[in-house]
């Protein structure tokens, strides 16, 4: 059983929902990136998704696109991510997932990639453009080293395909709550809930919902039906807004994380 599965078992016992925030590697810089990870952990993140920047992020909206450019300009890459992971693991105890487009992984070479994953004890990998069709060998290899390879289900995925994806996946199912790219959206919750119910019916793994969620209210609404909530753009946006006051970014992210945590734990939405 990999670390993510263990964590989900624990959460289930405690009847709690998972909160998985997303930040881009080295955003806004190396030093503050670590501080942000700390703030996320200390304020209620159950795991952290670290985005490896890619030059052509086709599934991402403008906020994460801009963060990717910021990170690329600082020299962030998959290899640098792994180099830093050792250090991160010393300071952060929650599971760490990498999100990368497939080409950086392919360029590194799958064999080498898995070796490094094993050595650095990466907990999970999310590759948005590695479709179910192209992922079979990759997932088999990741299972062999207890690396959770997260698979996506979208609003367009038919039921039979959900079952197939579920039997292939490990860790959890990443349910994309909107037809679109990452970023803030409004008014999609009702439809998403119907879909989440359908996904739950056709799958056995925990289901985490991401894409489009930016407010505590949305998180609370969707978490009632899902096992976890993933928020990226809303957090990255805080960094973007406070790019000249990095300490403020850390504080704001801590505050945001506390808000999400408390609504996921069934408390009332605290005042901002």
């Amino acid at each position: 059983m990999n670390s993510l599965q263990k964590h989900f078992t624990l959460l289930k016992k405690q009847k709690r929902k998972l909160f998985l925030p997303f930040v881009t590697l080295w955003d806004p810089d190396k030093e503050y990136f670590l501080k942000i990870l700390k703030a996320l952990e200390n304020n209620g993140a159950d795991a952290i998704e670290i985005g490896i920047p890619f030059s052509d992020p086709m599934a991402d909206g403008p906020v994460i696109q801009k963060a990717s450019i910021r990170a690329l300009n600082k020299g962030a890459s998959l290899i640098e991510g792994f180099k830093m992971l050792e250090n991160i693991k010393k300071q952060i105890s929650v599971p760490i997932l990498f999100m990368s487009y497939y080409n950086p992984v392919f360029m590194m070479g799958e064999e080498r990639f898995f070796k490094v994953c094993e050595k650095t004890k990466l907990d999970g990998i999310i590759i948005p453009d590695l479709s179910f069709e192209e992922s079979k060998k990759f997932i088999k290899n990741s299972k062999a080293i207890d690396l959770a390879s997260i698979c996506f289900i979208s609003p367009t995925t038919p039921s039979l395909r959900m079952k197939k994806i579920n039997s292939n996946a490990s860790g959890f199912i990443y349910y994309i709550s909107i037809k679109g790219v990452t970023g803030q959206h409004q008014g999609f919750e009702k439809k998403a809930i119907e879909h989440i119910k359908l996904v739950k019916k056709n799958t056995t793994l925990p289901v985490c919902v991401g894409f489009g969620i930016s407010t505590a209210k949305q998180a609370k609404t969707l978490a009632e039906y899902a096992d976890g909530i993933i928020i990226g753009s809303a957090i990255v946006k805080i960094i973007e807004k406070n790019i000249n006051n990095k300490k403020m970014a850390v504080d704001e992210i801590a505050k945001f994380t506390r808000r999400i945590r408390s609504v996921l734990d069934g408390k009332k939405i605290p005042l901002a």
């Binding site: 030059s55 403008p62 890459s77 392919f106 453009d129 590695l130 479709s131 367009t156």
Partner: protein, 391 residues
């Protein structure tokens, strides 16, 4: 025969897309398999290709150019097709198919603007709203085509992310498609992207090679020795090459943009200088760095300014069915000027790469050789750029 069931040309191609797009791509695959066999679709498409787009385009024996080069050269006059380039072959096919599939909206990307204009044209013809994504840099250097699209009733959306050229326009079009998957068909302009696009676009462009085969047999009573075409994404080249795939004695030459030189970073020669990677839905040769980040391409012609190439060309390269060379901006301009002066035909900068190749490497050919060059588009759109460089 490639692509195989998984959408691979041996080691290249595939479907590397986010889950949301998979259903649309699978739907397209099923629909295309149906329409390919549908008499109604084929008759309609053939009607529009003939009566509307002006096919077949001539295969012209370029006597003056031949005399200079010292061997026989024929030009496949795709520049005479409606809208001034081969792109119309693909857009009429795809937009007609989208209409028959019940799609309500068309989107496309464009580099030089030729594919954008051809898509806007087909969308106007088949009464469908159309939106074309174009890099800011390309909108600037191909402003005439921007206006043409607007005249045709298309909304041109400016893309100012990344390098602001073709690859970024494709990213933006994909993002639009993910967001409007139920109503929208994405007309990709070259033999790139996830399967089944490389096959669909190739099949619609194969009319070029099929016509050439008939025409050259009529003119020369034999097949040609060489087929020469420029390669960006590679649709005009593949459209010419593919019908000759089994004619092993017909050699294929693809000409990539060497930009400011293959030893600089400013070129678009993915096959000559790239490495294998996965980009915009398919595995193929790419211009990328050691971390797998896609690099910015450069070419004097916006239409070849792309850091990837169609997976079928990658396959042709690896099995050595085709040979790929690169020609720089300077030689391209020479080709542009030369064809204009000797034949009275102003070519687009894209096929000027192939013309430049023949001029520069004329000694590689023998006196009795018959060479067919795909003149994939006309040069009106490039006049401003050429003026800047030549005057």
């Amino acid at each position: 025969m490639y692509p195989d069931k998984k959408g691979y040309f041996l080691n290249f191609g595939g479907k590397f897309v986010p889950e949301t797009l998979i259903v649309a791509i699978n739907e397209l695959e099923t629909s295309y398999a149906y329409f390919k066999k549908s008499k109604e679709f084929r008759n309609k498409l053939n009607y529009y290709l003939k009566e509307y787009a002006g096919r077949p385009t001539p295969l012209y024996f370029a006597e003056n150019f031949s005399k200079y080069l010292g061997f026989k050269i024929y030009l496949k006059r795709e520049d005479l097709a409606h809208t001034g380039a081969h792109k119309i072959n693909n857009t009429l096919g795809q937009v007609l198919m989208a209409k028959m599939m019940g799609k309500k909206r068309i989107i496309a990307e464009t580099g030089a603007g030729q594919h954008g204009v051809a898509t806007a044209t087909a969308a106007a013809l088949f009464k469908m709203p159309c939106c074309v994504y174009m890099g800011k840099e390309d909108m600037h250097r191909q402003s005439l085509n921007v206006f043409r699209m607007q005249l045709l009733g298309t909304e041109v959306k400016c893309v100012d992310s990344g390098s602001m050229t073709l690859k970024d326009a494709i990213n933006e079009a994909i993002r639009d498609w993910v967001s409007n998957i139920d109503t929208t068909h994405y007309v990709i302009g070259s033999i790139v992207g996830p399967y089944p696009y490389p096959m669909i676009v190739r099949d619609f462009q194969c009319i070029i090679g099929k016509e050439v085969k008939k025409q050259i047999l009529r003119h020369e009573k034999r097949l040609p020795d060489y087929l020469v075409a420029c390669v960006g994404g590679g649709s005009n080249a593949m459209g010419l090459f593919h019908p000759f795939y089994r004619d092993k004695r017909v050699k294929f030459i693809g000409v990539e943009p060497a930009g400011r030189g293959l030893n600089t970073k400013e070129h678009g020669a993915s096959l000559c200088k790239g490495t294998i990677g996965v980009f915009q839905g398919a595995k193929s040769y790419l211009l990328q760095d050691k971390n797998g980040q896609i690099q910015t391409a450069h070419s004097i012609s916006a239409g070849l300014d792309y850091p990837g190439v169609g997976p079928e060309h990658a396959y042709y390269k690896d099995i050595k069915r085709a040979q790929y060379y690169a020609v720089d901006d300077k030689t391209t301009l020479l080709g542009f000027k030369f064809l204009s002066e000797t034949e009275g035909i102003i070519p687009a900068l894209e096929p000027s790469h192939a013309i430049g190749y023949l001029i520069k490497h004329k000694k590689r050919f023998k006196k009795l050789d018959i060479v067919i060059l795909n003149l994939s588009g006309r040069g009106d759109k490039d006049i401003d750029i050429v003026k800047e460089h030549l005057v």
